[in-house]
């Protein structure tokens, strides 16, 4: 009951400030904007796949896997207010499920199965932990992630144990491998991540996602207004777990090799940093965050032994300068030139 009292006493202004000056849903579904965005994204991706070298293509493909990871994390964390470390577990489920299924069925189907599998594991996990408060859930999720890794560590038939599994069969989607493997992987990653972003974008624009904000910030008020809060929470968690699994499948597809060592709690922390760095209450923030966090270590390779330090300092500076993430900066700039959406209009 302590939660009841706290929630009663909390002013709503305590809500996370990301995107505070905007309403959440556009009056009409801006499906067109979304489609244009995905089209631009795809054209750019295919351009790099055609002209870039293998190294760039692989890094970009990893970046796209991270995009899927970040949008999945943002649905769960930014939108529904659940912090979960179990992300790295679902990432592993997706990766190993893909590698295993791809041996037996078409890789494209294996990807779908891996996604569903991760979503299912997410469902079981969230049902089992449904009664925990948010803080305890966060701690329990760490244990869940670790547990999943232990299972894979010992399930040699699926994970290959410490040797890992490789080569993982690649998806093609009927695309022709014109140049080399990396180009194909990038094309596939681009198509899959575009689809994931589109789905997430549609979800962000739905009444469902609006209810999630109430679930996040005004739980008890929501319940007293008839919103099935726990169910919404579980739905968001399952969607997030499925997207995380999809990201894991893309990772396995891109790296061609997968082992338990690829997964650890840092995956969840990376996802958190991507989401916070990108900021905002939509898909664009996580995409920007994923792009920065994938490219930054690559760019710092030349700094060799200092790269870890420079990476940390850069992140720190960015967070101090941009407390609301990149999208927060964007909102401020938009407000300056009078582009703020729907404030005191009509």
């Amino acid at each position: 009951m302590a939660t009841a009292v706290t929630e009663q006493g909390q002013p709503d202004d305590a809500a996370p400030s990301a995107g505070a000056r905007r309403g959440v849903l556009p009056p009409r579904s801006s499906l067109l904007t979304l489609l244009v965005g995905v089209a631009v994204y795809t054209v750019f991706g295919l351009y790099v796949a055609k002209t870039g070298n293998g190294y760039h293509q692989t890094v970009l493909a990893l970046g796209l896997s991270n995009v899927v990871l970040a949008v999945g994390f943002s649905i769960v964390y930014t939108q529904s207010g659940q912090f979960s470390f179990a992300t790295f577990g679902f990432y592993a489920v997706g990766g190993f499920a893909y590698a295993w299924f791809a041996k037996h069925v078409a890789p494209e189907l294996a990807m779908v199965l891996a996604t569903v599998m991760a979503g299912f594991v997410g469902l079981v996990v969230r049902l089992a932990t449904a009664r925990l408060s948010r803080l305890y859930f966060a701690i329990a999720s760490l244990a869940v992630g670790a547990l999943i890794l232990i299972v894979f560590n010992n399930w040699h038939g699926v994970s290959g144990g410490s040797q890992g599994i490789g080569p993982v069969k690649a998806m093609t989607f009927g695309l022709v491998d014109r140049h080399h493997h990396a180009a194909l992987v990038l094309e596939v990653a681009w198509v899959v991540s575009a689809a994931a972003v589109l789905v997430t974008g549609l979800l962000y624009r739905s009444a469902w996602s609006r209810d999630l904000l109430i679930v996040r910030d005004m739980r008890l008020v929501g319940r007293n207004d008839g919103i099935p809060v726990r169910r919404r929470e579980i739905e968001a968690f399952v969607v997030g777990a499925a997207l995380t699994g999809l990201a894991g499948a893309l990772l396995a597809d891109t790296n061609v090799f997968i082992s338990v060592d690829s997964f650890g709690v840092t995956v969840a922390l990376q996802a958190l940093i991507m989401v916070v760095l990108g900021g905002g209450g939509g898909v664009l923030g996580p995409i920007i965050g994923a792009a920065v966090l994938t490219e930054l270590p690559e760019l710092l390779r030349s700094a060799a032994k200092w790269s870890g330090l420079v990476y940390g300092i850069l992140l720190l500076v960015v967070f101090i300068v941009l407390p609301e993430g990149v999208m927060g900066l964007w909102d401020k700039a938009a407000a300056k030139v009078g582009l703020t959406r729907r404030q005191e209009r009509r």
């Binding site: 009841a4 709503d12 309403g23 009444a207 007293n224 919103i227």
Partner: protein
Amino acid sequence: MSGGLVVEDLSVHFGGVYALQSMDLTISPGTCVGLTGPNGSGKSTMVNAITGLVPSRGQVTINGSSLRLGVPGAAARLGLRRTYQTPRVHAQLTGVENVCTGHPAPEGRNVVGALLRRRRAATIERERRAAAREALARVGEHRAGDIVGASMSYGQRRLVELARVLVANPSVLLLDEPGAGLNDEETASLQVLIGELISNGIAVLLIDHKVGLLNAVCDHLVVLEQGTKLEEGSPAEVWASPRVRAAYIGQVGDAGA
């Protein structure tokens, strides 16, 4: 089976202290009961107990159905809605969006509907928004429709919150100090609005300190002190009671002593 709200022997205690002791209260459809009393007398505690925010014991019946106590959302399923002492409006959502979250239509609000039945969801969402604007107009706050909660004045938040519960067409409505922080003009229109709600057949529980408002809309007043009923009856009877006068003003003769 009678409609409205029936509360029998409702008690709330925190440790050894009773915040509410053996409360009985009946509100028939289309009537308004006023609940008043000094701060800390148990008014909000009663609303919190009915809506499951604090643990309680007793019997509560809403529209003839027995309510499971201590479960937030259970009262909502039986058609009861409440407002809060400090208005609860989401800071990032506009007035219309805030009100939409109180709308009962479920379409587009689960993950499958949001993805696969988009056309239906869009149709219902338009209806929801129209209903939200209507509810906002009803409380006299159509201007707050496109402002986010963070930019609303205190009075606007109160009225937007009220619109959010009204859009659900509740049959029982618990208003926790709806008049607090409103100016005279706003209070006057609130009075008219509550009058309309009552004539629409809603059972209203009105917690307030404003005597004028209570007298104008309530058929029956209950005065609480330290978790128990100090007095109840028609407004005229209650205000004439020496016990009520003593609780509010102090014992007769105290002033000079």
